[in-house]
Structures are given as structure tokens and as C-alpha cells.
């Protein structure tokens, strides 16, 4: 039981990270990572909208007819985005201004519709909520890390705090965002590759020890046959 939620969380955060592994929601990522605070703000907005949309869609999955499910999902998401826009405009006008057009474009963010289609319409409310939070925070972490790197190189500051006077102007423009995003994906897939390989080696060793423990002579023969 506990294991299931841990798996959903790890999948959303790392193994199926929407930004690095699936490369979804690229428009807001590239548009906003030139500033760490707007990247983090975008991420947190998506966390709230994704979790709510997953909960609503999962709760209504038995009512929505299969033929019109996509329009139904889009209406739910668009309503949530409209609400989020009003709340942000009233409560955090600074963030509202820095997100600009990308706030309305959360409606067509592939992550939200993707999770609705791939997860929320097949699982219960609690699982969908956990999935929404995990994927949302996977997106937020990725955006914030890239935002910090991009803002540091492009403006010499982190979250608006000036750190150094040396700046590389390119990183404040989409050209820099593209390079940082591309290199981050490369680094992430490389680390995942190394991690997976070491895990596979460990699993193989454990399987071999198990086999030998259970049945020393037959196991040794089987292994020898496999290795040849």
C-alpha cells in the first residue's frame, strides 16, 4: 500500500520527470527560466492546477462519457486556470506580471492534459492527487534549478539578489534558455543511465547470490550455462 504511493511519487519526481525525461511543457520552461523567481512561481502554479485537475477528473471519471472526455478535461483545466489567474492578479501582482502570457497558456500545457489522460482517468482520487503533486513538484524542481543557473549566468543574480557583476547577456534570452535546457536534459539522462546501470549490476549480483544460496550445485551449473 505504502509502496504504491512511493512508486507514484518517485515516478513523477525522477523516473518520469515531465521536464527532463518526457520533455513536456517546454514553452513555459524556455520562456521563464531566465528568471529563477518566475520559474518557481510558474512551477508552483502548475502544482496547484495539476493537483486540482487530477482530483476533479479522477472524481468525475465515471460520469464523463468516453467520447467527449478531451473537451471535458479542457473545460475543467480552463476553469482552473481562469481562477488561478484571478487569484494571482489580486494576491501576487508581481508574479502575475512576470508570468505574462504564459499564465493563460497553462491551459495547453501538455503535462496537465497528459496526466489527466494517462493517469487520472484510470486511478482513484487519492492516487491521482499524489500523482499531481509529484509531477507538479518534478516540474517545479526542474524549472527552479534551471532558473537559478540561467539567472546567475545571465544577470549575475539568484532570485533577484545580486551576487556578481560579471554577466553573459546571451543567457537572459531564449538562446541561453535553449542551451541550458538541452544540457540539463543531457546531464539528467546521463546520470539516470549510470544509476540504472549500477542498479542492474546490483540486482544481477543479488539474483546470483540468491540462486547459489538456495541450490549451491544446480545454481552454479545454471549460472555457468548462462555465462557461456
Amino acid at each position: 500500500m505504502k509502496n504504491k504511493y512511493a512508486k507514484i511519487t518517485l515516478d513523477g519526481l525522477i523516473f518520469n520527470n515531465p521536464t527532463f525525461m518526457l520533455v513536456l511543457g517546454t514553452c513555459p520552461t524556455l520562456g521563464l527560466i531566465s528568471s529563477a523567481s518566475s520559474a518557481a512561481g510558474m512551477g508552483l502554479t502548475v502544482v496547484v492546477i495539476l493537483t486540482l485537475s487530477n482530483i476533479l477528473i479522477s472524481a468525475m471519471r465515471k460520469i464523463i462519457p468516453n467520447a467527449v472526455r478531451i473537451p471535458a478535461y479542457i473545460v475543467i483545466i480552463a476553469t482552473l486556470v481562469t481562477l488561478a489567474r484571478m487569484v494571482l492578479e489580486k494576491l501576487v501582482p508581481d508574479l502575475y506580471d512576470s508570468l505574462g502570457g504564459f499564465l493563460a497558456l497553462i491551459v495547453v500545457n501538455c503535462i496537465i492534459l497528459g496526466r489527466a489522460e494517462a493517469f487520472a482517468n484510470k486511478h482513484n482520487v487519492l492516487e491521482s492527487a499524489v500523482d499531481g503533486l509529484a509531477n507538479g513538484f518534478g516540474f517545479t524542481c526542474a524549472l527552479t534549478v534551471m532558473g537559478i543557473v540561467c539567472e546567475f549566468l545571465g544577470n549575475g543574480s539568484v532570485f533577484g539578489l545580486k551576487i556578481m557583476n560579471f554577466t553573459v547577456g546571451m543567457f537572459a534570452t531564449p538562446a541561453g534558455s535553449f542551451i541550458i535546457y538541452g544540457l540539463s536534459i543531457a546531464l539528467f539522462t546521463y546520470i539516470m543511465d549510470v544509476f540504472m546501470r549500477s542498479r542492474r549490476v546490483k540486482e544481477n549480483r543479488l539474483a546470483r547470490e540468491n540462486l547459489l544460496d538456495k541450490n549451491p550445485e544446480g545454481g552454479a551449473k545454471e549460472l555457468a550455462a548462462k555465462e557461456v
Binding site: 517546454t26 520562456g31 473537451p71 476553469t79 502570457g101 495547453v108 535553449f178
Partner: protein, 199 residues
């Protein structure tokens, strides 16, 4: 006339949707492996963007603002775009099956393309940096959408040409696929940065 040229220059070069605004990146990375499919996608997006603005702009300006329901713009716009795409698909299927076969697979993808909703939101917002003192009207809005779509197509075609060449190059394993495509895109962005000095 000055407004006319300003809109065309802004839409195609200085405010290009991909290289400056970063709208519509999903098809830009996903459908740019071959030049023929890049052209198909670009043309489809241009058509949908133009028609979408031609419908959403009057609906917003002459129906929603007078009725005081302009806060519902996102829901109304996404619905108009989704039904428009579905309708176009059916019309093209009936009128020209060969065009449908060439373009059909790209059409459903366009509903969730940021560029279409993005341009509808842009033209109802503050456009004073582009058109100057001239007042915004439907003609300018549709013109902007048309040339923004053409700018999108231009970058798609450049990118697909570069990616076809990239197939012949050996890159390391972790850079294969998206990372190398993004680094290529970054160079296109740098090239387009030159145009931001046009005043």
C-alpha cells in the same frame, strides 16, 4: 502603411514566435525531423492561427467586452480553437482527400499548440509596442496572426534543414535526440537576435 510594415517585421522577425516568444515549442521540436513534415505543420498552424484570430477577436471585442464577461476569455477561446480544428479537419477531409492525407495528422495536434492560443491572447492584449499609436482593429489582428504563422513556418523549415544534416553527425549518446536539437535551436535563436536591433 508604416503600421503594415511594422506588423509584418515584428511578427516574422523581431517578435518571432519560436525564437523570441518561445510559443509553440512542442511541434517545433517534435515535427522538425523532415523538411516536408515541417512545412506541412507550419502551413497548418498558419491557417489555424489566422482563422482562430479572425473568429476570437470579434467575439471578444464585440460580444464579450460589451456583455462584461471578458474574464471568461480562456475558456471561450480554447473552445473556439478546439471546435475550429475539428471542423477544419472534416472540411479538408471532404474537399481534398490528398491534402487531408498530407496534413491530417498534424491538425489534431494544433489544438494544444501554445502558438494558437498565444496569438489570440496577444492580439486582445497590449499591442502598443508593435503598432505604435495606431489603434488596434480586426484587420491588424488577422494580419499579425498570418505573419506570425509564417514566421513560425520559417523557423520550422530552417530547423528541419539543420536536423536533416545533424543525422549525418556523430554525437555522444546522452546528447542524442532532444538535447542536440535544443542546442541547434539555440543557435537559430542567436541568429534571430540580430533582428531585435531593427527599430
Amino acid at each position: 502603411m508604416a503600421t503594415f510594415i511594422a506588423i509584418i517585421l515584428a511578427a516574422v522577425l523581431t517578435n518571432n514566435f519560436i525564437t523570441v516568444k518561445t510559443y509553440g515549442i512542442c511541434p517545433f521540436l517534435g515535427v522538425s525531423k523532415k523538411t516536408s513534415s515541417a512545412v506541412g505543420m507550419g502551413v497548418a498552424v498558419t491557417i489555424v492561427m489566422t482563422i482562430a484570430v479572425a473568429i476570437t477577436y470579434p467575439v471578444y471585442e464585440y460580444m464579450m467586452v460589451p456583455l462584461g464577461i471578458d474574464y471568461l476569455e480562456i475558456i471561450v477561446f480554447i473552445f473556439i480553437i478546439a471546435s475550429l480544428v475539428q471542423m477544419l479537419e472534416k472540411i479538408i477531409q471532404k474537399v481534398s482527400p490528398s491534402l487531408y492525407n498530407a496534413m491530417g495528422i498534424y491538425l489534431p495536434l494544433i489544438t494544444t499548440n501554445c502558438a494558437v492560443l498565444g496569438v489570440c491572447e496577444l492580439v486582445i492584449g497590449d499591442m502598443s509596442t508593435i503598432i505604435g499609436e495606431a489603434s488596434m482593429n480586426m484587420g491588424w489582428a488577422v494580419l499579425y496572426a498570418l505573419f506570425a504563422g509564417l514566421g513560425f513556418t520559417l523557423v520550422m523549415v530552417i530547423m528541419s534543414g539543420l536536423r536533416e544534416k545533424l543525422n549525418c553527425v556523430k554525437v555522444s549518446k546522452s546528447l542524442m535526440g532532444f538535447p542536440i536539437a535544443m542546442i541547434t535551436a539555440s543557435f537559430i535563436c542567436m541568429a534571430f537576435m540580430v533582428f531585435t536591433y531593427i527599430k
